[in-house]
């Protein structure tokens, strides 16, 4: 009788292989490296960071220096992207604007993710009335379209970049809370949490040492996917007049300024807008790539 199924011999690894987690990371990095779109995204984002740091060194002019004799100059050899209605160099303003956008992205996501992560982890771990209250509050925030709620909050707090960042952070909290909660709900039933509890670990310790570190990866993925959206929302608020205030070189505000000169000087609105598109595309494709590598389950 012939054997239809060949059973592979059981082998033991002669030496302990690197841990599974480490291998997954290395494999992930390799896949990230092979995807040209993700690489493009990463490159643009790195460029954004470098520009933000080096803005004073590479910008050809002061971003707020007005030279009324050089109003609305078209793009050319002297001003690569032209000048705006106050004679300011648009390229320099865009380069300095990287600082504003980067700052918005990091602060907003920092606030939203850390608050949502903490609230959600506690909610899922404790359950009961605390969970009930937190989730009802999140439902209320989710009952609004995000941009509309951010607009309302920012307009009541007053037109100012800090208020706009706070407003955008608030509308992003529920996403992180829900994710962290669902992770915590699953983790609290796991054996290692049971083991920790049986050794007398406090709730605080369990949440900080066992629940949160294990759901950190999904939080980071969502945070990286949010970067583009946050920048876009901040630019929209800036455009309406609810975000950064003049003379801050914020890209959305610059497009709004350019709107008045669309007929004679279309470059004033064109270049800041193109920059927003470039950065948001980069953030989106990089986020997509990162998600595919780190957690294929989240693929939408």
């Amino acid at each position: 009788m012939t054997r239809l199924v060949s059973v592979p011999p059981i082998t033991r690894h002669p030496s302990p292989a690197p841990s599974a987690g480490w291998q997954a990371w290395r494999k992930g990095a390799q896949r990230l490296w092979r995807n040209p779109l993700t690489l493009f995204g990463l490159l643009v984002l790195l460029l954004l960071v470098v520009t933000a740091i080096a803005a004073p060194l590479i910008a050809p002019a002061d971003p707020t220096a007005m030279k009324l004799g050089q109003r609305l100059r078209p793009p050319g050899s002297q001003f690569l992207f032209g000048t705006d209605e106050l004679g300011r160099d648009i390229l320099s303003r865009i380069l300095w604007g990287t600082r504003v956008s980067l700052q918005i992205g990091v602060i907003v996501i920092g606030i939203a993710a850390s608050l949502g992560f903490t609230l959600g982890s506690m909610s899922g771990y404790f359950r009961g009335p605390f969970d009930g209250i937190v989730m009802r509050v999140m439902d209320i925030i989710l009952a609004f379209p995000p941009l509309i709620l951010a607009m309302a909050i920012a307009s009541f707090l007053g037109p100012d970049l800090n208020n706009a960042m706070l407003a955008i952070a608030v509308v992003h909290i529920p996403k992180y809370t829900r994710l962290a909660r669902s992770e915590a709900l699953a983790l609290r039933e796991s054996l290692f949490v049971l083991a920790a509890r049986s050794t007398g670990a406090s709730d605080r310790r369990i949440i900080l040492r066992h629940i949160m570190p294990n759901s950190l990866a999904s939080i980071l993925i969502v945070a990286s996917l949010d970067f583009g959206l946050v920048i876009l929302t901040a630019a929209s608020l800036g455009f309406i007049g609810l975000g950064a205030q003049p003379p801050t070189p914020e890209w959305g505000l610059m497009v709004a300024d350019g709107r008045k000169y669309l007929v004679n000087a279309p470059w004033v609105a064109t270049f800041p807008g193109l920059t927003i598109v470039l950065v948001v595309i980069a953030a989106n494709v990089f986020g997509d790539g990162l998600r595919d590598v780190l957690d294929p389950r989240l693929r939408t």
């Binding site: 009802r136 925030i141 009952a143 609004f144 941009l147 009541f156 007049g241 609105a269 595309i281 939408t300």
Partner: protein, 335 residues
Amino acid sequence: MSRTAYILYRLVSLIPTLLGVIVLIFILSRSIRGDPARMMAGDAADKQVLETIRREFKLDEPLPVQFWAYFTNLLQGNLGVSYQTKRPVLTSLMERFPATLELTLTSLAFALLGAVPLGILSAVKRNRPIDHIVRVLSVGGISMPVFWSGLMLIWLMYLKLGWLPGGSRIETMTQPPPPVTGLYTVDSLLAGNWPLFTESVSHLVMPAFILGYGYMALLARIVRSSMLEVLGQDYIRTARSKGLSEATTILRHGLRNALIPVTTLAGLAFAGLLGGAVLTETIFSWPGIGKYVVDAILFLDYPVVMGFTLLIAIVYMLVNLLVDLLYSWMNPQIE
């Protein structure tokens, strides 16, 4: 539970969230720095005027009393009076709502008609050139700020080429059609006024395209990934092995199942359409509620901002309820 009872149950279960929404809007409105009475009356107002306003809006009373006054007014359909125009906010919102409805519905139709075929094509031709083109178009669509792409299109189509009008619903000198639905395209057809119909359509094309494109891009991505998941299922292989044509397999067996998760996500993504409408209306001087609120924000006209925010939240909640009902109706696995 019968269908009607279920729908009623779902409507009633919206009430707690709606109450929360009202409370949140109230709290926000009281977080204004400075004296609300002075903001309403303007800097030039004398003491007596300020006193009257304080009494009228119960601004001297404790917060719960203020809230109760706000809430009972809401129940009577009183959203307050605009500081700027001195007209009731509800009246102004209702006047402008049809314009927004016309714009969003057209964008929605455009987005759905574009997203479904593109998403299917992209999934079926996975990793082929057409898939790459669709994916680039959709990443571009979700990454482009509408306030910028709108301006660029106005510059090209209106200022440079002169093919399309640059804004508003009809020309300033044109008489609007007799109001029936409030949608100029429909009303002009009902009145049999063909030139007016083409005029309103030509005004609608650009804003609807700009607003719909972002939503289409998002939907196309969702359709594509949902379709990819479905096409890998066993029942698709079964359908193929039965000898069904590729079109039948994809449309009858694939699409019908792929669209089920798409409906839920489409409902959530509708938020983007509502938010985008505010920016699109501003760019195209479209006289809807979005432009109304942006103008109000610049004048710190808070009753308008409050009324608008509440209205949009209600619309969004109802849309998501509708989508949920549609979902359970489409999915036979849900009783």
